[in-house]
Each structure stands twice: as structure tokens, then as C-alpha cells.
């Protein structure tokens, strides 16, 4: 474990290199929030632009999937368990918070592992866990399912919303119009997946990338690493993550995932359908599939009109450039998913950015 140098030292070094322009995408929503909370953007010298990527699992959950979740909440006697920030995401028929306000039993959990206990404590009722998130939460869902299968729980099922990070990053890089020079990858995803699934970024798409932790110091160090790579004309995958990232990742977690899920195409809000970017339950776990059990399979309704989440997620525009930003679209009444989650780019801009009149303006 290495201690990052003091932030002032990193910022000084960044100033020395001072590239004419360097557009960096932070792939993960946790980086987005951390950057805003700690003011990382405001200390970057001119020329740097941090662009928020698609890495908020809530934001990219499609409207159809939310509609499915709401439909499950409407099943008589059902208990729907969800991670917190999923509650407010609008579907075409309202959000899960609206369903709860209508008297549906929607409960917030922080871990998949709570589901079996709730199912056990609620005989005669159907418990549905909304399994959302990237490779960081999917292993927990997989472990929970194997426990549920072991205990023979018949009143528990999941709506599988899990998504895979690498195919989405690849889809972004395929976009020729994408103005991204370098990428910051999330440390916690890489601890699980390892380096290998992300090597294509530097090898095939020739962009420098760095695995960084979520502290401001680690992010700044990541930016410095990318700057140096760029100055030297290198394109490699480096890591400044404080914990060791093994190149093969966490075997146990990936095996669990591979046993429980098979890749499938998946719709990302704002990005559309991306092949192999989703996870479906493996045939052996079919009995736990809530969509099959309750015959819920909503279509994919069109995205809300005027919402430019797709462009935001691709780094083409910043949220204030969306005409709905702060006018019709606010965290209290979000139009698009990027406004909903605390990690969503538009939500983060809404809370932390107040336009050009104040001292801490960000660019």
C-alpha cells in the first residue's frame, strides 16, 4: 500500500505538465460524486476537463426495467427490496417511491444478503430483490442466490438488472465522435475483474487509462499518471489504487458471477442496447427469475423527450447544456435518469454547480 503524495504536490506537478487539452472520462459514478464533493475539478489547471461516464448503475437502468420493477411491486402481497437510490428513478408509470406512496411494500436494503432473511420472515408473501449494479454488487447477488437455493426458499426471486462495465466502455470508445483522450477506471470494479478485461482500452483504442481509488488524492494521482503517459506518448493501463489490484481480479467473486449469470444484451438508458453488457440468470437458477415467475416483461418505452442523457453519458455535453437542466429537470422532479441518483452527472451538477457567477465555478 503506497501513501499518495500531498494534494498540493500533485497539483503543482499537474501545472508543470499543463497539457493544452486533456479530456478525461471518469467511468464510475462514485468518482463523479467524489470529484464534486472534494472539488477536484476546481483545482485542475486549465486544459483539463473531467467528463463523467456511464458508471452510475441507477442512471443507466432503463425505463422498461423500472416499469418492470413497479409492476412487480403491484403484484398482490409482494415485497420489493431495492437499493436506495433506485427508488426515485422515473419509469413511464412513476417510480418505486410513487409505488410505495400508493401503499406498495417497497423496502430499502443495503445488501443482497438481507433478502433471504426477509423471505424467511415473510411466509405466504413473495419477496423480489431488484438486483442492480455493476460487477461490484453482482457477486453478492450470486452468493445470495446460492444461499437461497440451499435453504430452499420458494418465495424469493430477483429482477436481474446487473450490468457489465467493459462492454459499455467499449461501446463508448467505438463512437468516433467521442472526445475522450484518457480514462479513469474504478478501483473497486477492477479489484473484482482484474486488469485484463480493460486492457483493450489502451491496446485496441490507444487511450491511456488508470485505475484509481475514490479519494480526491487518488483521483488527482490518476490524472497526473494520465498526464505523464500523454506527455510521453504512451498508452498503457496503470494503477494508482491503494489496494493491490491483481491482474486476474478476485477469482472467487468472478467464479460466483460466472456460475449465476450469463451475458445478455442490455439496454442502457441514454446509450441504447449494448451487446453482452447485461447479465441474465443462468439456466440452473431460472426458478429465481421474477420476470418468469410473475410474467412481467414490459417493453422498452421511448426515452423522455428532450432529455439528453445519452449525450451527457457520452461526454458530448455537460448537463447545463441540456435545455431541460434546472428548468423542467430537477432532483425533485427528474426527467432523465442522470438527475436521479446522487451519482448521476446531472444530479451532481445540480447540487454542486451554480453557473458562472461564483468563485468556485467549474468548467
Amino acid at each position: 500500500m503506497t501513501h499518495p503524495p500531498a494534494p498540493e504536490a500533485i497539483i503543482r506537478a499537474l501545472r508543470e505538465y499543463s497539457p493544452r487539452s486533456l479530456n478525461i472520462m471518469e467511468v464510475c459514478g462514485t468518482h463523479t460524486v467524489s470529484a464534486f464533493r472534494s472539488g477536484v475539478r476546481s483545482v485542475l489547471p486549465e486544459g483539463y476537463r473531467l467528463i463523467s461516464g456511464p458508471g452510475c448503475p441507477v442512471c443507466v437502468t432503463s425505463q422498461g426495467q423500472i416499469d418492470g420493477a413497479v409492476a412487480l411491486a403491484d403484484v398482490p402481497d409482494a415485497i420489493v427490496l431495492t437499493y436506495g437510490d433506485m427508488l426515485r428513478v422515473p419509469g413511464s408509470n412513476g417510480s418505486l417511491a410513487d409505488a410505495r406512496a400508493r401503499g406498495r411494500d417497497v423496502r430499502v436494503v443495503t445488501s443482497a444478503m438481507e433478502a433471504p432473511d426477509i423471505a424467511l420472515a415473510s411466509p405466504g408473501r413473495q419477496v423480489v430483490f431488484l438486483a442492480a449494479g455493476f460487477e461490484t454488487t453482482a457477486p453478492a447477488t450470486a452468493a445470495m442466490l446460492s444461499e437461497a437455493a440451499g435453504r430452499g426458499l420458494r418465495n424469493l426471486s430477483i429482477l436481474c438488472l446487473h450490468k457489465r462495465t467493459p462492454p459499455a466502455v467499449r461501446a463508448l470508445l467505438e463512437d468516433a465522435a467521442l472526445g475522450i483522450d484518457a480514462l479513469i477506471l474504478p478501483g473497486h470494479v477492477c479489484v473484482i475483474l482484474g486488469h485484463a478485461p480493460f486492457l483493450f482500452i489502451s491496446e485496441q483504442y490507444e487511450r491511456p487509462c488508470v485505475i484509481a481509488g475514490f479519494s480526491a488524492e487518488s483521483m488527482l494521482l490518476g490524472v497526473l499518471d494520465l498526464t505523464i503517459q500523454r506527455a510521453r506518448g504512451e498508452t498503457a493501463l496503470h494503477s494508482v489504487y491503494p489496494d493491490a489490484v491483481k491482474s486476474e481480479g478476485n477469482r472467487k467473486a468472478t467464479e460466483l458471477m460466472d456460475r449465476a449469470f450469463v451475458p445478455c444484451d442490455s439496454v442502457w438508458r441514454g446509450l441504447g442496447k449494448i451487446s453482452s453488457s447485461g447479465m441474465r440468470l443462468a439456466p440452473s437458477l431460472k426458478d429465481f427469475d421474477a420476470e418468469l415467475r410473475f410474467g412481467v416483461s414490459p417493453g422498452e418505452p421511448p426515452e423522455p423527450r428532450g432529455c439528453r442523457c445519452g449525450d451527457v453519458l457520452r461526454g458530448r455535453i455537460t448537463p447545463p447544456e441540456c435545455p431541460l437542466f434546472r428548468t423542467t429537470c430537477t432532483p425533485a422532479a427528474p426527467v432523465g435518469p442522470c438527475m436521479v441518483s446522487s451519482e448521476g452527472t446531472c444530479g451532481a451538477y445540480f447540487r454542486f454547480y451554480k453557473g458562472g457567477t461564483v468563485a468556485w465555478e467549474i468548467s
Binding site: S42, Y83, G84, P331, V358
Partner: protein
């Protein structure tokens, strides 16, 4: 779907403020100067406040709903320079709850009353059918007399004033979240405590502008309300915030910003620059305020906005939270 209230409307941030405005607009505005604030000054030096309490779990490290129901109302009076003297209490109890449990909460409440010399004057008890309430709901109305002639309130804020936070923030919210989400944080307990004594100790300080206890919505929300309500800017310094490692660890796991977590025994004091040290030294005499710190200033620039100079030397905006504070995925 705007027709239904959601839990977000009760979280103390923007949605709550808007809802309260719609509710109070139905009534004619009263003639008292501090109409429709947390605490109202009445004629002849009296003042009054009312607060409802629901908390799950009802017992938590550092207190229970009984203690909370007295501290909450007392603190609303205290920060306006009012000595709490009388309490009226309304209980809504769910059928099936153990009487012993209820009496236990009353004992905790009575203890705080005794400590502060408060008399329970009247009350009301209702038992409702199973499912019509969640265990125990308590409403308390506290009244008392002002011990300062000054109208302490955010209208008194001036650019250059210092902001003093009486202790590390977010403890109550973090404690409840840890209990609710089953996190084991051994040292963590709610800050639930009456603030009358420390608040009283500040009343004769000439440069005292206003005080507020940070409850629902946390420190960040109070600062935003001051900036917006008084039309001033506020700038705080992250490195000077009295932070608590236990609170931060809960925030780390659940993705919360500690600035928005509820407190129940923590206040912000605004004071002229000259008198800031006096406030700090007076607060230091009281155990719950031993961590008091000077955290920022009122500014002329950026009226209506709260900014924070961050640990790495950057800037960010502190905005009012919207809706329920939810744990995030990851």
C-alpha cells in the same frame, strides 16, 4: 404523480420546505415577528414551539424516542434564547405495544425535564388500531420565556460574521442509519442532548447574531436556509469541520454526505468576528460542545449560496438536499 406525498417530503430539505409553505399559506399570517418558524415569539416575552417525533428504531445508542421528544423541542426554544419551562405532550400509541416500553420512554423524557427544571403541564394519549401508527408517535409543545430581549434570527447575519459549530456533526443520523442498515460501529452514539445550558451561556455576548440546532437535513441544510433566507453568502472550510471518524465510516459505506445527516444536540452559532473566540471558550465549558470549532464566515459575495473550501484546496457548493437521503448502490 405529484399528488401523493412521498417520504422525501418529510426529509427536511427542499421538498419539506415547499410543502410547509403550501400548508401555512392556507392560514392568515400571524402578527408575531417570527411567524411560522421553528419557534415563535409570543407577546409578553413568551415563546412556543412544537415538534413531532417518529423514529425507527425507537431505542438507539445515546437515547430513545422519549429523550428525543424533549430535547428536540427544548433545543428549538434554546437557540432562540428562550428558557424552556413547560411541556405539553401528545402520545399516539399503536395497539399491541407493551405498556412498560411506553413508560420507559416517559422516564427518559422525565429525566431531561428534571435536569432542565421543565414541568409537564398537560397532554393527550390516544391508542389507535394496529397498523394505524408505527408503535409510538410523540408530539411535544414547549413554551418558556425569553432570557434576551434581542430577536435572534437569521435576519441578523452580517458579512464577516463567523460561524461556530458546537460539535462534530451528523451523529444522530449516522447512528440511526447504522441501526437501520445493520452496521456495527461500536463507538457511535446519537448526539441527542439538550442545548439550553450552552445556548444560555452565549446570550450576553454582544456580537451574537443567531443560533440554530441542526436537526433533520443536517448542518448543510441549516447553512443553506441561512444563506437563502438572509440573502448572504456563506463559506465554510472542510479542514476546520469537527468531523467524527465513526460518522465518516457510516457515510463511506452508505454513500451519505455527513453534512446532510441529522443531529439532535448540535448547533451552529453565528457571531461577529470579534466575539468568535468568546463563543468558543464559553462552549468549551459544556461537555456536549467540547468539540466546538470555527468553521467559516458569512460573505458578501455569492448571496444565497453556501460554498466550501475543500481539503485539497478546491471549492464546492453545499446545496440543500432534495428528498429522502438514500443509500447508494456499490
Amino acid at each position: 404523480m405529484g399528488d401523493f406525498l412521498t417520504l422525501g417530503h418529510g426529509s427536511g430539505g427542499r421538498l419539506t420546505n415547499d410543502l410547509v409553505r403550501r400548508i401555512t399559506s392556507v392560514f392568515p399570517a400571524p402578527e408575531t415577528p417570527s411567524a411560522f418558524e421553528d419557534c415563535a415569539y409570543l407577546p409578553d416575552g413568551y415563546a412556543m414551539t412544537l415538534d413531532g417525533f417518529t423514529v425507527s428504531p425507537r431505542v438507539f445508542p445515546g437515547g430513545d424516542i422519549g429523550k428525543l421528544s424533549i430535547c428536540g423541542s427544548v433545543n428549538d426554544l434554546a437557540v432562540r434564547g428562550v428558557r424552556p419551562e413547560w411541556i405539553a405532550m401528545g402520545l399516539i400509541l399503536e395497539e399491541g405495544i407493551a405498556e412498560e416500553e411506553v413508560i420507559g420512554y416517559m422516564r427518559s423524557a422525565a429525566l431531561v425535564c428534571k435536569e432542565l427544571g421543565i414541568t409537564l403541564t398537560c397532554g393527550d394519549t390516544k391508542v389507535v388500531p394496529h397498523g394505524a401508527a408505527d408503535g409510538v408517535f410523540i408530539t411535544t409543545c414547549a413554551t418558556g420565556r425569553r432570557e434576551t430581549a434581542r430577536n435572534l434570527g437569521m435576519h441578523a447575519l452580517r458579512p464577516g460574521d463567523h460561524l461556530i459549530l458546537s460539535r462534530s456533526y451528523g451523529r444522530h443520523g449516522a447512528t440511526i442509519a447504522a441501526q437501520r442498515f445493520d452496521l456495527d460501529v461500536p463507538g457511535l452514539a446519537s448526539d441527542c442532548a439538550p442545548l439550553w445550558e450552552p445556548a444560555r451561556a452565549l446570550l450576553d455576548i454582544g456580537g451574537l447574531r443567531c443560533m440554530r440546532d441542526c436537526t433533520r437535513g443536517g448542518t448543510g441544510t441549516v447553512l443553506c436556509e441561512w444563506a437563502e433566507g438572509a440573502g448572504v453568502g456563506i463559506e465554510i472550510r472542510e479542514d476546520d469541520l469537527p468531523r467524527d471518524p465513526d460518522v465518516l465510516s457510516v457515510c463511506d459505506i452508505l454513500g451519505f454526505d455527513p453534512l446532510y445527516l441529522a443531529c439532535e444536540g448540535c448547533m451552529i452559532v453565528a457571531v461577529s468576528a470579534e466575539d468568535a473566540d468568546t463563543v468558543l471558550s464559553r462552549l468549551a465549558q459544556f461537555a456536549p460542545c467540547s468539540g466546538a470549532a470555527d468553521i467559516g464566515v458569512v460573505t458578501e459575495g455569492h448571496p444565497g449560496l453556501v460554498g466550501m473550501r475543500t481539503h485539497i484546496g478546491g471549492h464546492r457548493v453545499v446545496d440543500m438536499p432534495v428528498g429522502e437521503i438514500l443509500p447508494r448502490i456499490c
